[in-house]
Symmetry: C2
Subunit: 367 residues, 2 copies
């Protein structure tokens, strides 16, 4: 019935230098997983490309600059690094949250009373065609309510990350100036759309005219700075000479200093992602003296701490989407073998922006 | 009647390298100030030594590392630097707040309806024997309620700074581990006393056994690390192997990294002062990656933004003090000419700790 009769699994082939490239991952035949009590055998349909996985991969050459990884809130050790020979993951956190999955698929066999063959589910975690997953940590999807890939997109982990950062950390007020880096990315686009709706002055930062047009024309930003053509600092000084109230930082790197220097008194810097450093590069630091002189608040957050809020987020975003009021972009790569290229495009900014997915198997949920 | 019949004023003599020393300030005869409408002529009795003034003084040699200064919240330019030849100030902010004064004294002549000769007032700002001050920005003191120097001490600006940082920024909870640098200093002692009363596990950092004994035996800290004899990181690892919830930072410098590395997930770093950098030295920076991985909150504050809360603070501290429940230390230097040495002792940590005052003229408020 499915185009693949046997299982295939993508594994990390070797330590990776910088951007992932050909030869860094290899596709292997694998036995069909056996499922235990309360488990499901799931045929993967879509998998999510998660740039935050990059720092967890083995690095080739000199020690990477970004070595730390999210730790569980109770500070227990949690081995999240992915080693050579292991399966590649579609999300950074394999087991800490019910909402940490990175694939949607269809149940082929079930030993869990709540799921039956044919059901669509969210909850797989690996780059592979078939996966045995824990039914207790899975969510059944209703294709009549939202498209099944929505759980990797408009109500997925990246959008939830943006929502948490915007709604729970920023303390944003209408009329404030908010700058968002990677504004056309899977997290940034959710933040930009929500902030623009709320009446903030949104200034995006993205790479290339196509993504910048998406940020202004669809997401509702006042302006989007094209990093490939404009000097970010000079452009900000022209657009908002009085400075910036909030910097929603998805990239870290050198850009962070440019924004720190332009934060107003009582400004906020929300540390959401560090895309500029995931492949190596100099680790960014923040100057203490301006934190004091300008009374800044710098706050990092990790979305897996906010599981309790997921239903609130899901309801808001689904309602907006159904009303046609949630601008959104996704790009779908075809076939499991294209996943490494999708990850590289995501990390390098060469993608068209939005949420990047890989269609691993036929989407039978659609007419 | 007063021991000085004429006025004398301390001026900045030259750019200063590192710690202030002999020759950096000079005492000048000056005319008795004339007072205008709604002004008071005040004989200074006590002046407050404020280490935060140091970065506002002219620096000799290479450019200082800490150049930024607090800006008014509305971001208007505010010339707070003190230039060579100008009068030395007893507080960082000359005109931004009614509570920004740094001296207490006695009214000699008044052209303000609310003040009469003989009244004790808070509100002078300079290192001088007599000062003309704005009556509308002054506070009349009641020596029968609190000693007049209390407005530079237990209910003064330094204690208020500690109170704001502790009560409004830390989000401290009983049982949490709070580390306080300069714990025996004028800000740190207020924080330590309040936090210990509230049931936090307080660990102080101070220099020398006398100050450390004050922090533990009087302020109620669980332990005080003597920076002159102990390795801070190793000692913390022994005292609290699970890490630190809150670092109340009065010093910045290299110590900040030591504490950042030991903050628990959801830890807070309150940037209150940067004493280690006021005389120069390498500017401290904070690593972005641990802010994200550990979901830290780093927040700077400046007390002058909290004038509205001063009455709440004053009531709490005065009540504690009258009940004998507010441990407190002050050290009084005698004579205006001793002020530069007092400032140097404060900046170097050579003082006995607590609040440093200079008695400039006779305290006629006491029996």
């Amino acid at each position: 019935m499915t185009p693949h009769a046997a299982n295939r699994v993508m594994r990390v082939a070797r330590p990776i230098a910088g951007l992932p490239g050909p030869g860094d991952f290899t596709l292997h035949d694998a036995p069909m997983p056996e499922i235990g009590e309360r488990e499901l055998l799931v045929r993967t349909i879509y998998l999510s490309i998660a740039p935050g996985v990059r720092p967890l991969l083995p690095h080739a050459g000199h020690a990477p600059q970004v070595e730390r990884e999210p730790q569980p809130a109770d500070d227990l050790p949690n081995p999240m690094k992915i080693r050579v020979g292991e399966r590649m993951r579609s999300g950074i956190v394999p087991s800490m949250s019910k909402f940490a999955g990175g694939t949607v698929g269809q149940v082929v066999a079930s030993r869990h009373p709540d799921f039956a063959p044919g059901d669509y589910v969210f909850g797989g975690r690996y780059w592979q065609l078939y996966e045995a997953i824990n039914g207790d940590a899975s969510v059944r999807l209703d294709p009549d309510d939202l498209p099944i890939e929505a759980d990797l997109g408009i109500v997925g982990r990246s959008a939830f990350t943006g929502w948490v950062g915007y709604r729970r950390i920023c303390n944003a007020k209408p009329g404030e100036v908010m700058v968002i880096s990677s504004a056309a990315g899977s997290v940034g686009m959710a933040v930009a759309a929500l902030a623009a709706r709320d009446g903030l002055r949104v200034i995006g930062i993205a790479s290339g005219p196509d993504k910048c047009a998406f940020v202004t024309e669809e997401l509702g930003a006042e302006y989007c700075i094209d990093r490939q053509r404009e000097d970010v600092g000079q452009t900000l000084d022209r657009l908002t000479p009085a400075g910036v109230d909030i910097y929603f930082d998805n990239v870290a790197g050198a850009l962070q200093r440019t924004l720190m220097e332009r934060l107003k008194p009582f400004g906020r810097l929300v540390v959401c992602g560090m895309a500029a450093e995931y492949c190596g590069g100099e680790a960014s630091t923040l100057p203490t003296d301006s934190i004091l002189a300008k009374r800044l608040r710098i706050e990092g957050f990790v979305v897996l701490d906010y599981d309790d809020e997921y239903p609130v987020f899901r309801q808001e975003m689904a309602a907006l989407w159904k009303a046609g009021a949630l601008p959104y972009r996704q790009q779908i790569y075809e076939g499991l073998k294209s996943a490494p290229a999708a990850l590289a495009d995501c990390l390098s900014g060469r993608s068209r922006g939005g949420k990047l997915l890989v269609r691993v198997g036929e989407d039978t949920s659609k007419p």
